[in-house]
Amino acid sequence: MTKTLRRVLRLAGVPRRSAALSVVLGALAVGFGIALMTTAGYLISRAAERPPILSLTVAIVAVRFFGLARPVTRYLDRLVSHDLALRALGRLRVRVYERLEPLAPADLGGYRHGELLARTVGDVDALQGLYVRGFGPPLVALLVGSACVGVMAYALPLAAVVLAAGLLVGGLVVPAVTLVVNQRTGRRQAPARAELTAELVELLRGAPELAAFGHQGEALARVTAADRELVRLGRRDALAAGVGDGLMVLVAGATTAGVLAVAVAAHDAGNLDRVPVATLALLALSSIDAVAPLPAAARELWENVTSGRRILELIDREPSVNDPRDPIAPPPGRPAVALEGVTARYSGDDEPALRGVDFVLPPGRHVALVGASGAGKTTVTGLLLRFLDPEEGRVTIDGHDARDYRQEDLRETFALAGQDAHVFDATIRANLLVARPDASDADLRHALARVRLDAWVDSLPDGLETLVGEDGCRLSGGQRQRLTVARALLTDAPVLLLDEPTAHLDTATAEAFVHDVLAASEERSVLLVTHRPEGLDVVDEVVRLEEGRVVERTLRRELPGVDESVTLPPARPRPPARTTVTGREMRHAVAVPPWIAVRVFNDVTADDLGVALVPSPVELGDEIAVEAHPWPLEIVDVISARPARREGSNGHPDEEWSR
C-alpha cells in the first residue's frame, strides 16, 4: 500500500516546497481556529477576575487577530493546495500518457475496450485529491495536534496525556472504524447492485418485446426482487453509515470532559491557577478540529491506493510491439502489403482474432475486406499499423517483415480513416493538423475539397475553427467520416486504411461517399474495411472474412470470366505445397488453391490472385514450400519478376504488379 502511494507520488512529482507550504498554511488555518477559542476562553476567564481592562489588551488583540487570520490563512491554504493538486494532476497525466502511448491499443485490450481507458483517465483524475484530501489532513493533524498537546503539557502535563489519548483515538481509531465499515458495506452491496443493474438493463432494453409478448408481470417481479434485496442491504448498512461522525463527537466530549476533570482536580489541589481551567477546556474542545477531517482522508487515501494500483498495473505493462535493434530502411514509395499465414490474438483473449490469413494489397489496388463484426477485419488494419504483431506467420511491407522496420517509418506508409479513426474534441483545423502539423490553409482546403467538405466548411460561421464536439458529435455521420478521410488524404501515405467509413450512414450517403473517396485516392492503395455493401461494386477485389478466416474472394476487375465469387470449402489442415524452382533468379512464387486455378487461372495473371507468396529470393533448384495454409494449395507459377534489389538502387516494385 505504501509502496503504491510512494510510486504514485513519484509519478506526480510534486515539488516538496510547495507541498510543505500547503501543509504549513493548513496547519496555521486549523491552529488559528483553535487559538481563537482558546484565547477567547482565557480572555473571559481572566476578565471574570475583574482586572484593570488594560491588562486584557493583549488577549483582546490576540482574539481579534486569530479571528481575522483564520479565514485568511484558510483561504490561502485552499488556493495553494488546489493549485498543487492541479499541478500534480498535470504531471501525472503527462507521465501516464507517456507510458500508455506505446501500449495503445493492442496492449490496452484493443480498440474495443474504450471503457478501460476511460476508467484509467478517471483514476488519474481521482488522484488529484491525493494531496488536498489525502496526505494534507494527516500531516496538518500531526502538526497541530502535537502543538496542542505541547501547549497543554506546559500548563498541566496530566491533561496533555488525556488530550493526546483523545486525539489519537479520534485520529486513528475513528478513521479506521469508518474505513472498515465502509468497505464492508461496499463489498456487501456490490453484487446486489450488479445484479439489479443487469436486470434493469435487460428489462429496459427488452421492454418492447416484454410488452409485445405480455410478459411485463414476470419481468417486473424479477426486478422487484433484486431491488428489494438491494434496499434491504441499503437500509441495514445505513445504520453503519453515520458511525464515524457520531464517534468523533463522542471522542470530542470524552476528551473535553477528561481534560476538565484533570484541570478541576489540579485547581482544587492548588497545582493550577483558576484562569487556565477555562482555557484548557476550550483548547481540548476545539483541538478535535485537527483530527475531524481524518476519516474522510482515510477513505480518500484508500481510494487513491486502489486507483493508483490500477494505473500502475497498466503502465507497468511491457509493450508487446517494439522497434527492431537494427531497423531496415523505410519502405519505398508504393510498397506491396501482405499478410502471410497470419494468426493473431489480442493479449488476454482465448480465441485468436485471425487464423492463418493470407492477404495481399498490391500497390494502387483497391481491396475491400468484408465480414460480420468480430470476423477480424479491424485486426487486419491493426496488424498493418503494427498495433499488434502476428502470433504466427508474418506481415510484409515490400516483401520485408513489418517487424524489421522502425514503427514510425512503417506507419508513414499508412493513413487511417473511418469509424475507428478518432475525431478529437477540437476544431476542424486541429483535427486535420493531426495528420500534418505543418500543413498550410491551402493544403487543408484542398484536402477538404477532395472529400467535398469545402463548401460546407466555408458556410460555417467559424470556418476551420468550428468545434466538432466529442468524437465529432456535432457533425453528421457523413461529415465525420469525410473529415477523417480528408485528414488521411493530407498525408503522403501510399496506403489508405478505411475502417468502416460507412457506419451510421444511410445507403445513398454511404454510396456517394465511398465513390468520392475511392475516386480521390486513385493513385493510392486502399483497404476498405466494411460490413456493408456500399462501394463493393467499385473496388478491384473483395475479400470476405468469417471467424478470422478468409472464406471468399471476388475479383471485380473487368477480366473475362472472373467477375463472380469463388467460395472456398471448409478449412482443414493441409500438407504444404511444394515445388522446385526451375527458372532463373526469382523472387516470388504464387500458390493458389487448385479450384481457382481450374476456374479462373487461365484468365487472370498471377498477381491478381496473390493468394500466398513465398517472399524471400529463391534460386534455381530451391525447393519452395507454402506452409500451414488452411486450404489445399498448388504452386501454379513462380513469377520471374524484377532482379533482387541492389544496394543504392531505387528499384520500384511497381512493374511487377503493373497491369
Partner: protein, 539 residues
C-alpha cells in the same frame, strides 16, 4: 417530521453542552472540587454522546430514506416503461439509465443523509442559540443577530458571481478538462499518424491552462467560503471581546459569559455546513431530477377503453393516413402512411434505413401510437381495444431480438408460457433453431443472454423466430429478419419464414430485396411515405 424532532433535540443538546461546560468551569473558578462537579462532568459526556447519537441518527435515517426513495423511483420507472412507452429508449440510454438508477443512491445519500438534516439544523439551531443567548445576555445576542445575516447574504452574492464566471468559462473549461480523456481515447489514431509522442507536450500545456483557468474560478469561489468564515470568526471574536469587557465591568457572570462564547461558533456552523452539503448533494438531485422527468413524460400508448379486438385472421389490418413523430425529436418519421394487410397474405415493406419501416412495426404491435391517423382492424380503431388482448394476436420479431438471461427454453417460452416442451421443440425446428440448440452443451437448458453462452446474430434471430412460431398468432411482423446474417444463416431463416406464412398474415420488413422476393405484395416506403406498391409478379 422525524427530522424536525431530531433537529429540536439537537438544538437542546447544543445548549445543554455549552451550559454544562460553562457551569463546570465557573464552579471550579469558585473553588469547587472534582467531586462537586462530577455529576456535571458525567452529564457533559452524556450530552456529547447524545449529540453523536443524533449525528448518527440523522445520517442513518437519511440513508434509509434515500435507499427507499430511489427504489420507488426505480420501480415506477420500470413499470412505466413496460406499461406506457416500452420502445422509447435505445440500448445505450437503457444502460446509462439502469446505471444511474442503481448507483444514483450514492448521490442521493448525500442529499438525504447530509443535506436535508443540515437544512433542519440550519433552521432550528441558530434560532435556538439566539433565543438562549438572548435570555442570558441581550448585548451578545444583538452582536450575533447583526453578524448572522451576513452569512446568507454573502453566500447568495458570491454564489451568483461564481455561477456567472463558471458559465462564461464553461466551454473552455469543459474542453480543457476532457482533453486528456479525448487524447487517450484517440491514442490509436495519434499513433497511426505518428503523432503519439508529440501529444505529451500538448497534455502538459493544456493541463497548465486548465489549472490557471480553474484557479481563476476557484479564487472567487473560495472567496465566498472565506467571507463566510470571516463573518463567523469575527462574530466569535466580537462576542468574546464584548463579553470580556462586560465581565470586567461586572455586568455579567463567568458562567453566562462562557456559555455565550461556546455557543457563538454553533450559531454559524449549521449555515456554513449547509452551503457545503448543498454542493455535495448536487449529483443526487440531478439523478432524482432525471428519473422524475422521465416519469412525468406523457405515456406513448393510451388505452381508452377495453373492447375485445377483432382477430386479424379474418379481417383487414389497416394504417389510415398515419403520421408519427417522436415527442422529443424533430422531424416526422411517418408522413401520411396508408397501407393494409389482408388476411393470409404476405406483405413486404421495403425501403432505405430511416424510412420509418420499424415504426410501422411498432404501431402494429401498439408499442407506439400514431401522432395522427389511426391503426385499425376490421375498421375498429386499435386505440379503443384492449392493448394486451391485441398484442396476444400478434407475434413480432424485432430487428435485434433480445435474448433474456435464462435458458434457451425460457427464451422460446416467451412466445407462449403455457406451451409444453414438445411444442417448444417443434417451434424451434420450424425456425431452424433445433439443430444448433441440440448441439449446445446443455441443449435447451443452456443458459444464454448476458453472462450466459454467447449466440451469433443468426442464432438469436432463429430463437426469436421460434418464439413467433410458438406464439401461433394470426398476425406476424418480422423486422429485418435476415439483415445481420451471413448468407448461410439467411437462407435458413428465409426457409423458416416460408413455413411461418402458412395460414397467417405476415409483414416482412427489409431493406434488402431477397426476403421480399416471395411476398404477395411489396410496399416501398421512403422518408416516411409510401412511394410504391405492387402486387408480386405471377405467383
Amino acid at each position: 417530521m422525524v427530522d424536525v424532532a431530531l433537529g429540536v433535540l439537537a438544538a437542546v443538546v447544543v445548549l445543554l453542552q455549552a451550559t454544562l461546560l460553562a457551569r463546570i468551569v465557573a464552579r471550579s473558578f469558585g473553588g469547587a472540587s472534582l467531586e462537586d462537579v462530577s455529576i456535571d462532568l458525567v452529564l457533559l459526556v452524556l450530552a456529547f454522546a447524545a449529540r453523536g447519537l443524533l449525528a448518527w441518527g440523522f445520517e442513518s435515517a437519511g440513508r434509509r430514506a434515500s435507499a427507499t426513495t430511489l427504489s420507488q423511483l426505480r420501480l415506477s420507472l420500470v413499470e412505466r416503461r413496460l406499461r406506457d412507452e416500452p420502445s422509447a429508449l435505445d440500448g445505450a440510454e437503457s444502460a446509462e439509465l439502469a446505471t444511474i438508477a442503481v448507483q444514483g443512491v450514492d448521490g442521493l445519500d448525500a442529499y438525504f443523509g447530509r443535506y436535508l438534516p443540515q437544512v433542519v439544523l440550519a433552521c432550528v439551531v441558530p434560532v435556538a442559540v439566539l433565543v438562549w443567548v438572548g435570555t442570558i445576555d441581550r448585548v451578545s445576542a444583538l452582536v450575533m443577530l447583526l453578524t448572522l445575516p451576513l452569512v446568507p447574504v454573502f453566500m447568495w452574492l458570491i454564489g451568483r458571481y461564481t455561477e456567472e464566471q463558471t458559465r462564461r468559462r464553461w466551454e473552455s473549461l469543459r474542453l480543457l478538462s476532457t482533453h486528456f480523456l479525448d487524447v487517450v481515447r484517440g491514442l490509436p489514431t495519434l499513433r497511426a499518424f505518428n503523432r503519439g509522442t508529440a501529444q505529451a507536450d500538448a497534455i502538459a500545456d493544456v493541463s497548465d491552462r486548465y489549472r490557471r483557468c480553474t484557479m481563476g474560478t476557484l479564487r472567487v469561489a473560495f472567496l465566498s467560503g472565506a467571507v463566510l468564515e470571516l463573518a463567523a470568526t469575527l462574530g466569535v471574536a466580537l462576542v468574546a471581546v464584548t463579553v470580556g469587557v462586560r465581565l470586567v465591568d461586572g455586568g455579567l457572570g463567568l458562567q453566562a459569559g462562557l456559555t455565550v462564547l461556546v455557543l457563538a461558533p454553533e450559531l454559524y456552523l449549521p449555515l456554513r455546513r449547509l452551503g457545503e452539503q448543498f454542493h455535495a448533494s448536487a449529483n443526487g438531485l440531478a439523478v432524482a431530477d432525471r428519473l422524475v422527468t422521465l416519469l412525468d413524460a406523457p405515456p406513448a400508448v393510451r388505452t381508452r377503453n377495453a373492447a375485445t379486438p377483432p382477430s386479424p385472421a379474418a379481417t383487414v389490418v389497416r394504417l389510415e393516413n398515419v403520421t408519427f413523430s417522436y415527442p422529443a425529436r424533430p422531424g416526422v418519421v411517418l408522413d401520411g402512411v396508408t397501407l393494409e394487410l389482408r388476411p393470409g397474405e404476405t406483405v413486404a415493406l421495403v425501403g432505405p434505413s430511416g424510412a420509418g419501416k420499424s415504426t410501422v412495426a411498432k404501431l402494429l404491435v401498439r408499442l407506439a401510437e400514431p401522432t395522427t391517423g389511426i391503426v385499425s382492424v376490421d375498421n375498429t380503431d386499435l386505440a379503443s381495444c384492449d392493448t394486451e388482448a391485441w398484442r396476444r394476436l400478434v407475434a413480432w420479431v424485432p430487428q435485434r431480438p433480445t435474448i433474456f438471461r435464462g435458458t434457451v427454453m425460457d427464451n422460446i417460452l416467451l412466445g407462449d408460457p403455457s406451451a409444453d416442451h414438445e411444442a417448444v421443440r417443434v417451434a424451434a425446428q420450424l425456425a431452424g433453431a433445433d439443430s444448433f440448440v441440440q448441439a449446445l452443451p446443455q441443449g435447451y437448458a443452456t443458459t444464454v443472454g448476458d453472462g450466459g453462452r454467447a449466440l451469433s446474430a443468426g442464432e438469436r434471430q432463429r430463437l426469436a423466430l421460434a418464439r413467433a412460431f410458438l406464439r401461433d398468432a394470426p398476425l406476424v411482423v418480422l423486422d429485418e429478419p435476415t439483415a445481420n446474417l451471413d448468407p448461410a444463416s439467411a437462407e435458413l431463416v428465409t426457409y423458416a419464414i416460408e413455413h411461418l406464412r402458412e395460414g397467417r398474415t405476415l409483414l416482412v420488413i427489409a431493406h434488402r430485396p431477397e426476403p421480399a422476393q416471395r411476398a404477395d405484395r411489396v410496399i416501398t416506403l421512403q422518408a416516411g411515405r409510401v412511394v410504391a406498391e405492387r402486387e408480386a409478379a405471377a405467383a
